[in-house]
C-alpha cells in the first residue's frame, strides 16, 4: 500500500434542511496523508460534513475539491473513498471475509487477487482468524476493525471515519486509538475522522477542526488549539479552562494588562485591544502554581481553598478568589508543595503567556 493520499478541500460548504442550517460556510484544507479530525458537540454538523465529502448529502452551497478537481456532483460510488460508518454498517448476511471482499467484488477483481487482498487487510487489523464468522458473532472492537479492513482493502486514497470508536469502552478505545494512529503512519493515506471525544481528537490528529452549530470555529494542530484557543468555546471544549474577565487597563509591546477589582493580570498578545474595553482571558488549571512565601511570578492572585479532590495523578483545587470567583487549579501529586486543606489561604502564580485572550463567543451561542 503505497499510493499517497489525496488532498481535499472544502470551499464555503453549507447545508440547509428547510430553514435549519446544519452546516454554515465551512472552508477546510486537508493535506496529502494528513489526519484531520472534525471535533464538535452533538448536532454540530460533523456527520453532515462527512456525508457531503462522501457524496451522500448534497451541499446547499459550496464545493468539494479533490486534488484541485471539483467532485461536488460526483455520485458516492464514483468517489473511491473508504468509509467507516457510525455503527459500522457491516452486512449482517455476509461473513467477515465477504464483507471485506465486497469493495473488490464490485470492482470485478479476480478471485485469486481478491482473496490475497482480503487476507492482507484482515492481517492488518489482526482478524485473520475470524474470516468465516458473521458480524453478529464479533465483539464491538472486532466489528470496528472489520469495518476498517473493509474501508482499506481497496486502497482508497482517502478514508472517512464517522465516530469509529464511540461505541467502544474506554480501555478498548485507547487501544484502538493507538492502532489507528499506527495504521495511519504505516499506510500514509489521508484520513478524515469525526468525533466528539476531545482526547481522541488531540491524540490522533495532525490537525483538528472545531465545529459548533455548523460553523467552523478554529482549526490547527492539536497543541496550537490547546495552547492558543481563539474563542471561549474552543478553550472550554478542548480540556478545561478558567476564564478571567476584566477591563483593559494598559497596553505595552507584546502584551496588555486587565484589571478586575484590585487585581491586575498581564497577558501576552500581538495586538492589544483598546484601553477600557472588556477582555476575557483563558487560563488552564495546570498552568498555575502555588507560590511559596516570598516567591514571585508575572501574575499572582490571593485565594482560599474552598474544596479539593484527589485524582491519583494530581490534586484538583477550587480556589476562591475575590475578583475572579472560583478558579480551578491542578497540581501534580508527586511534588505538591502543600497538603490541601479546606480554608487554607494560598497564593497562585502564572506566567503572562499562560493567560490567553479569547473571544467570548458564548453570547453569540445563546443567540444562535
Amino acid at each position: 500500500m503505497s499510493a499517497a493520499g489525496h488532498a481535499l478541500a472544502l470551499r464555503g460548504l453549507s447545508k440547509r434542511y428547510g430553514s435549519f442550517t446544519a452546516v454554515a460556510d465551512v472552508s477546510l484544507e486537508v493535506g496529502q496523508g494528513e489526519f484531520l479530525t472534525l471535533l464538535g458537540p452533538s448536532g454540530s454538523g460533523k456527520t453532515t460534513i462527512l456525508m457531503c465529502i462522501a457524496g451522500f448529502v448534497e451541499p446547499s452551497e459550496g464545493a468539494i475539491l479533490l486534488d484541485g478537481r471539483d467532485i461536488t456532483a460526483l455520485p458516492p460510488e464514483r468517489r473511491d473513498f473508504g468509509m467507516v460508518f457510525q455503527g459500522y454498517a457491516l452486512f449482517p448476511h455476509m461473513t467477515v471475509a465477504e464483507n471485506v471482499a465486497f469493495p473488490l467484488r464490485v470492482r470485478k477483481m479476480g478471485a485469486a487477487e481478491r482473496e490475497a487482498k482480503v487476507r492482507a487487510a484482515l492481517d492488518l487489523v489482526q482478524l485473520a482468524a475470524f474470516a468465516e464468522r458473521r458480524p453478529s458473532q464479533l465483539s464491538g472492537g472486532q466489528q470496528q476493525r472489520v469495518a476498517l479492513a473493509r474501508a482499506l482493502v481497496f486502497e482508497p486514497a482517502l478514508l472517512l471515519l464517522d465516530e469509529p470508536l464511540s461505541a467502544l469502552d474506554k480501555k478498548l478505545r485507547a487501544e484502538l486509538q493507538d492502532e489507528l494512529k499506527a495504521l495511519h503512519r504505516r499506510i500514509g493515506r489521508t484520513f478524515v475522522n469525526v468525533t466528539h471525544d476531545q482526547e481522541e481528537a488531540l491524540s490522533l490528529s495532525d490537525r483538528v477542526a472545531i465545529l459548533n452549530h455548523g460553523r467552523l470555529i478554529q482549526q490547527g494542530a492539536p497543541a496550537e488549539l490547546y495552547e492558543a484557543p481563539r474563542t471561549r468555546f474552543v478553550a472550554d471544549f478542548l480540556g478545561k479552562s478558567n476564564f478571567l474577565a476584566g477591563t483593559v487597563q494598559e497596553a505595552f509591546a507584546g502584551g496588555f494588562a486587565i484589571g478586575a477589582g484590585a487585581t491586575r493580570v498581564v497577558t501576552a498578545a500581538a495586538a492589544p485591544p483598546a484601553l477600557g474595553s472588556r477582555a476575557l482571558l483563558s487560563l488552564r488549571p495546570e498552568k498555575m502554581a502555588l507560590l511559596a512565601e516570598g516567591e514571585t511570578a508575572e501574575n499572582t492572585v490571593q485565594g482560599v481553598i474552598a474544596g479539593w479532590s484527589y485524582l491519583g495523578a494530581g490534586y484538583a483545587l477550587n480556589v476562591e478568589t475575590p475578583d475572579f470567583g472560583t478558579l480551578r487549579v491542578t497540581l501534580p501529586t508527586w511534588n505538591a508543595p502543600i497538603a490541601p486543606r479546606e480554608g487554607l489561604a494560598v497564593r497562585l502564580g502564572w506566567r503572562a503567556a499562560a493567560s490567553v485572550p479569547v473571544l467570548d463567543d458564548l453570547d453569540q451561542d445563546r443567540a444562535a
Partner: protein
C-alpha cells in the same frame, strides 16, 4: 441528489407503467363512460333520483352492508378479545384459525354455505331428522344467506386491526386494575374497550368498504333474488348491455368507498387498515 436519484425512480417505473396502463386506465374509462353513454351528459346520474330499481339496489346494499359490518364487528371483537388475552402459544393457534379462513377461496366458502343451508342441506336435514321442524327452512338464496356468508368472510378482516390495537394495550394495566379490585366488567368497560376503540373503528371502515363492492358471495348465496350493487352492475353490463347505467353505479361505488375513507382518515390511522404499507 437529483441526478443520483434517477436510478431509484427507474425502479418505480415498471410498476407505475403497469399500474397506469392496465389498472388506472381501465378504471378511468369506466368513469368516463358513465358520462358519455348512451348520451353525453348527466343522464345516468339522474336515474339515481328517478329510477326505483336503482334506488332499491342502493338501499338493499346499504342495509346488508351495515348489518354485515355490525355483526362482523361484534363477532370479531369477541374473538380478538379472547386472542389478545390468551397466552403466547395459544395465540399462535388462534391466529392461524383466523388466517386460514381469511385466505381460503371465497368460492369454497360460499360453496360450503350452500351445502349447509340449502333446502336439502345438512342443517335442514339434521333439523328435520331430529324432529325440530317438519318443513325445510329457507336459509339461503335470500338476504339471510347473504349476511351469513358475508359475515363469515368479513370476521377475519375485522379481527386483524382490532387485534393489532388490543395488543398495544399494556397487559400490566389490566393486571394492575385487577389488583386494585376492579371487576372484570369494570376493567373491560373502563380500560379495555376505550383503548381498543381505534382498532374497532378501523375494522368497521375496512369491513364496510369491503362489503360495499362484494360480488361472489351475494351472487351465490342471494340466488339472483336479492341484488347487491356489484351483482347489479355485472347484470347491466353482461346481460343488459346498459354500459352507462352500470358504469354510473360503479362510479358511485368508488365514490362511496373513497368518501368513507376520506371521512374516517381524520379519526382512524389508515395504516391500521392497510397494514405496514405506509410504514
Amino acid at each position: 441528489m437529483r441526478r443520483q436519484d434517477a436510478g431509484w425512480w427507474l425502479l418505480i417505473l415498471p410498476a407505475f407503467l403497469l399500474m397506469t396502463a392496465f389498472y388506472v386506465a381501465p378504471i378511468a374509462q369506466v368513469l368516463a363512460i358513465s358520462f358519455t353513454e348512451p348520451a353525453p351528459g348527466l343522464g345516468n346520474y339522474e336515474r339515481l333520483f328517478t329510477s326505483e330499481s336503482v334506488q332499491r339496489v342502493i338501499v338493499t346494499t346499504l342495509r346488508i352492508c351495515i348489518l354485515t359490518t355490525a355483526i362482523s364487528l361484534l363477532l370479531g371483537y369477541v374473538l380478538s378479545y379472547r386472542i389478545a388475552l390468551a397466552g403466547a402459544a395459544a395465540q399462535r393457534w388462534w391466529i392461524l384459525a383466523v388466517l386460514v379462513p381469511l385466505w381460503i377461496s371465497v368460492l369454497v366458502r360460499a360453496f360450503a354455505w350452500v351445502t349447509l343451508l340449502r333446502r336439502q342441506g345438512l342443517v335442514n336435514e339434521t333439523l328435520i331428522a331430529t324432529g325440530i321442524i317438519t318443513e325445510p327452512l329457507a336459509l339461503v338464496w335470500n338476504e339471510f344467506g347473504i349476511v351469513v356468508g358475508m359475515v363469515h368472510y368479513m370476521v377475519p378482516y375485522a379481527v386483524l386491526p382490532m387485534l393489532a390495537s388490543m395488543r398495544e394495550i399494556d397487559p400490566r394495566l389490566l393486571a394492575a386494575a385487577r389488583g386494585l379490585g376492579a371487576s372484570r366488567i369494570t376493567i373491560f368497560a373502563k380500560i379495555f374497550l376505550p383503548l381498543s376503540m381505534p382498532g374497532l373503528l378501523a375494522a368497521g371502515v375496512l369491513v364496510f368498504i369491503f362489503s360495499l363492492g362484494f360480488y361472489i358471495t351475494p351472487a351465490l348465496l342471494g340466488g339472483g333474488k336479492t341484488l347487491m350493487v356489484a351483482e347489479w352492475i355485472g347484470l347491466q353490463i353482461l346481460d343488459l348491455l346498459r354500459w352507462g347505467l352500470g358504469t354510473m353505479m360503479a362510479t358511485m361505488l368508488v365514490v362511496a368507498i373513497l368518501a368513507t375513507l376520506a371521512i374516517f382518515a381524520r379519526i382512524v390511522d389508515l395504516r391500521r387498515i392497510f397494514g405496514g404499507g405506509g410504514a
